[in-house]
Chain length 335, copies 2
DNA sequence: AATTATTTTGTAATCGGTTTCATCTTTTCA
DNA sequence: TGAAAAGATGAAACCGATTACAAAATAATT
């Protein structure tokens, strides 16, 4: 039989109010009664029912995380950091793997509207709910894919600058025939990285060749396919900037299958620095995203929002880093 | 201002009971009133408060997933399948990344005791709560690492048979100097795979050399370190069975650093078949775990348990599969 | 010692749904 | 047509905590 606060109160010879106070505001209770209560709590093994409390306090103690694919290393690393921060702050995290389905996004978005969660972390480029009836935004933090809404707090890296850094690295090695394997056109991260790619080329007076720009979906398979397309070109690039490590890994795979040597025949640079990047052969040069820090900062910002405070800045940018490994080198002489 | 069921009832000109019925048991309500209610629901944008309902029904609609590391591809794939099944069944999943901390395990374990979740999926080898005061077990399903408790439902693969298959593959290629990079000694999966390793060797009359058995922790780094140890041996193995793909990837890394050719100089076989296994160079031969199916089946079993039914079998084993790729071959002549 | 201020505790209202039970309608069937 | 059965609806109890408010106990002040 399930024991409730009443049972504990009876056992301790106090009212349920006192039990509640002992558990959530011990300082309001006499040392003496407190110990009586705690004894009863331990004896009965009482665990407060969250719903009773949540109903009264209007706080769920939950946050939702909306991600397109938890299987993705980038997302997994971020959510791990989130979970840790959340637990430390006394929150539980509801996992929303949306598989890019808008319906699923809305499903999880509703949770925060219906009070099932106190805040929401969104890693997709859309708001997961209508703001139609909303008088004010719920506690929401956005990362990875920028949501087009000025009032939403964002934790990101400077994607354009990251791309510029990547391409300039290639240029500094002597490459001029630099292709890009980008993500889906409508994702903000791709938009910004593509802008960076073009800016870096322009700055170096390298003409932009649209045939060198292939669209993928950030996944391995699309990297494989994209590289196959690039290899069919009459004038092949000597270096490729991939907008994700997964696509870079796919691209390298295609290169290996076709007996190209990396980086001698073609340089590859990725983006993200997932853990497998340094385990490839050759080890992948890439732009490192601070995944842990991203996750932590997202949760910290959300925590602040849930306390009713506003963070100092609506948009917070964390530093990225160029990690040079083995997959990039100067182009072969004469290409 | 937050709108509740009363507001909707007023607007629709019915009682709150009718609104509730319309939403959760439409068949109890007249077509006519139903449409009146739905109209009011849509007009107000009413979202039922979960806690009110949960409090009354004693159902949270949540399940907890307790995993040692969500960053791990194996876990990520499984939880993804779980989330999908859960959502389809109307449940939300609470993520518990425990980082091998028993304290964190208990934290999440309590959720199911306190009613914050209706069921729990455990991927660690321990029960995440005391069964002291419990009259009966909560709805719990266990996978990946076997919990030592007869009444807990388990969804697994046959780890021993998997290991036997792996080692016999190596033996069939002509290897006799077969090392093992195993997981932590106290994990049941390692215990079973190690037993399989030994059985396969014994069956082929190959003596077991304890120096050939190195302990890792299933992670990449430990695979790197383990292979370094193996390379220091006077009589080096010609093949290594790694108890996880991650350790295999680490081991291959060490081999490459030391300019060994895989599989010519040494064959490597992994376990799991994570997505990166086929992206390594050479592509990793491995024992494929049906990760998706494992996740789905776990959730299905839990669903049954939460409905108060018992699954046909306490232990359900799913089929594994040997996937031969490029990292295994016959040993070089004369070694 | 009497009065006032402060601290502790208890009573009861409250959060927002669901569900039992009674009542009122409608349908079925003799 | 009338009685019985079935169906739809509403009133109110209920789930289990928190907390405003009142009352009681204790401490402080004069």
């Amino acid at each position: 039989m399930k024991i409730g606060i009443k049972d504990v109160a009876k056992k301790a010879g106090v009212s349920s109010a006192t039990v509640s106070r002992t558990l959530s505001n011990p300082e309001l209770v006499t040392e003496n009664t407190r110990s009586k209560v705690m004894e009863a709590v331990n004896a009965t093994g009482y665990k407060p029912n969250r719903f009773g409390a949540s109903l009264r306090t209007q706080k769920s103690g939950n946050v939702v995380v909306v991600m397109p694919d938890i299987t993705n290393q980038v997302n997994a690393s971020i959510i791990r950091a989130i979970e840790r921060e959340a637990m430390d702050a006394g929150y539980s995290v509801l996992l929303g793997d949306t598989q890019n389905s808008e319906e699923r996004e809305r499903h999880y978005g509703e949770m925060v509207l219906s009070g099932q969660a106190d805040g929401i972390l969104v890693f997709t480029p859309r708001l997961p709910f209508e703001l139609g009836n909303l008088t004010k935004l719920p506690a929401i933090v956005n990362s990875c894919e920028e949501i087009d809404h000025a009032d939403v707090c964002k934790v990101t890296i400077d994607n354009e600058a990251g791309a510029i850094t990547a391409v300039e690295h290639l240029i500094s090695l002597g490459h001029t025939k630099i292709a890009a394997i980008k993500g889906p056109s409508l994702t903000p991260s791709t938009r910004d990285r593509l802008a960076g790619y073009k800016k870096a080329l322009q700055k170096a007076d390298i003409p932009i060749d649209e045939k060198y720009i292939i669209t993928g979906d950030y996944g391995v398979e699309s990297g494989i396919a994209a590289m196959e397309k690039l290899l069919k070109l009459k004038s092949r690039p000597t270096a490729v900037f991939c907008f994700s490590d997964d696509m870079a890994i796919g691209a390298m795979n295609t290169l290996r299958e076709n007996e190209y040597n990396i980086p001698q025949d073609m340089s590859i640079i990725g983006f993200d620095d997932i853990s497998y990047a340094s385990l490839m052969s050759p080890k992948l040069t890439t732009i490192k995203q601070p995944l842990e820090a991203l996750g932590r900062q997202c949760m910290k910002t959300l925590l602040k929002l849930m306390k009713g405070q506003q963070p100092e800045q609506k948009v917070m940018q964390l530093p990225f880093e160029l990690v040079v490994r083995q997959s990039t080198a100067a182009p072969k002489a004469g290409t």
